[in-house]
């Protein structure tokens, strides 16, 4: 822990954002929605990777927002972008050919193979909760170089069975993406407020590889809806540096 760290220690939510930002340190481009993913990408540009190209679904490529946007259509994104493209161009020329290195996605439910549900809770015809739906996620997850899922670590989110499969992560496990003809590597990390899960290199099932702060593996296991495997090489997340934390707080306060 840095001795120069200012202010209160990091919350788990802040650690989640900081960890997501670190994953972008050596990437060329990232596809993001609003909320924590956008904040993480802005933090990565501020601290790790000033050349990182931010791509928002609204069609803004190379946006350089100075304030955290509420919507992917905020005027600041278009005004600061290198180029602004139509929706068909975004999906057909930029996402489908795999031009974007990393995509950040969220979801209401995620399963052990990092498949995602953002469509309904309950039965499709008579949903208990109607969620917004797919948006760009299925094709983003199929075609971007890799996917990082950002989600709160909650038993309602980390479930044994999805109520609806909106977006394929690793399908049924090893070989699924290849059989479906997907070009991208799929989810390489799931960053939560408790730790980080990564797919097993062989089975493609998510394994707990990092825990944040004072969380232990059993805490995470209890908040996961399946029998979560814990890596033999489980490590504690490097805490946010003073620089990361002050840059993040400055962004959020702006």
């Amino acid at each position: 822990m840095s001795a120069t760290q200012a202010g209160p220690s990091a919350t788990r939510g802040e650690i989640q954002t900081v960890v997501a930002a670190r994953l972008l340190a050596s990437k060329k481009s990232v596809f993001i929605g609003v909320g924590r993913p956008s904040t993480a990408a802005m933090l990565a540009r501020a601290v790790h990777n000033p050349a990182l190209v931010l791509v928002y679904e609204s069609g803004t490529i190379g946006a350089k927002p100075t304030r955290i946007p509420l919507s992917i259509g905020d005027g600041d994104l278009a005004a600061t972008a290198d180029c602004v493209v139509s929706v068909p161009e975004m999906f057909n020329y930029w996402i489908q050919p795999g031009r974007i290195d990393v995509a950040f996605l969220g979801a209401a439910q995620i399963d052990r193979h990092a498949n995602l549900n953002s469509t309904v809770i309950g039965a499709y015809e008579h949903p208990k909760t109607r969620l917004p739906g797919a948006g760009g996620a299925p094709e983003i997850a199929a075609n971007c170089g890799e996917v990082v899922v950002i989600a709160p670590h909650d038993p309602r989110t980390f479930v044994e069975h999805l109520d609806f499969c909106t977006t394929i992560g690793h399908g049924n496990g090893a070989g699924s993406r290849e059989r479906l003809g997907f070009r991208g590597a799929g989810p390489t990390a799931v960053v939560t407020d408790m730790g980080v899960l990564e797919p097993d290199p062989v089975t493609r099932e998510l394994v707990l590889t990092h825990v944040h702060d004072d969380v232990n593996a059993n805490d995470v296991w209890e908040r996961t809806g399946w029998d979560l495997h814990v890596s033999d090489a489980l490590v504690r997340t490097d805490p946010p540096t003073a620089e990361e934390l002050s840059a993040l707080r400055e962004l959020v306060d702006r």
Binding site: I72, G73, S86, V87, I168
Partner: protein, 266 residues
Amino acid sequence: MAELAPLCEAISECVGDGQSLALEGFTHLIPFAAGHEVIRQGRRDLELIRMTPDIVFDQMIGAGCARRLVFSYGGNPGVGSLHRFRDAIENDWPHPIEIEEHSHAGMANRYAAGAADLPFGVLRGYAGTDLPKYSNVKTVTCPFTGEELAAVAALRPDVAIVHAQEADREGNVQLWGIPGVQKEAVLAAKCAVVTVERIVDELEPRAGGVIIPGWVIDVVAETPGGSRPSYSLDVSDRDNEFYRAWDEISRDRERFSAWMEENVTA
């Protein structure tokens, strides 16, 4: 050359009960005033088509205009749920609606196929997901490589309505900023209505400007502020406070109805 007409005439001439009606504008240039005029004129049984239903369709669904909804993302961007959309699907209020949902890539390719007058659009999409079970998606085999691809039916709405910053007196339209899928929607539709912030003598070239010639548009209606609470780049700002406030307004049926009465239908 497009006819120039007031908004109320444009809607009464072009939009009738039972039609398929697309309103486009992807988080920017959303044609709110036109949607409100459709509500005021009491149109019913519409097939409403929009990638992101947003508040405008939440209002039209809650007001009882919709028989069917075709969409790809039904949320309040950055805020959460669209409560009228949810109430219609979860509780059949004010009446049951049919839905057909897609991914953004699928909807974009459906519009592009409609604009090109092709029967379907083709993409690498939907594979492995539950969407094809509940939506109108099929597969097609590439005749050159044998690759299996997703096929989505072309969208050919009876009417498309979009909003832009400017038109000239011949009805040539220019929009700039996030261009969404408006050009495709206009070219795919049998009848196109464009509301604009202002009519000008001459369109000045703008960075990233998209021109839609007046001869593919049926009616242009000058409608200042017609995108609020969405925005028109360089004319107005997105009203993020209203998008947040809508969450509360729309959560309750009575409060929603009172708000609509006071702000739209009165």
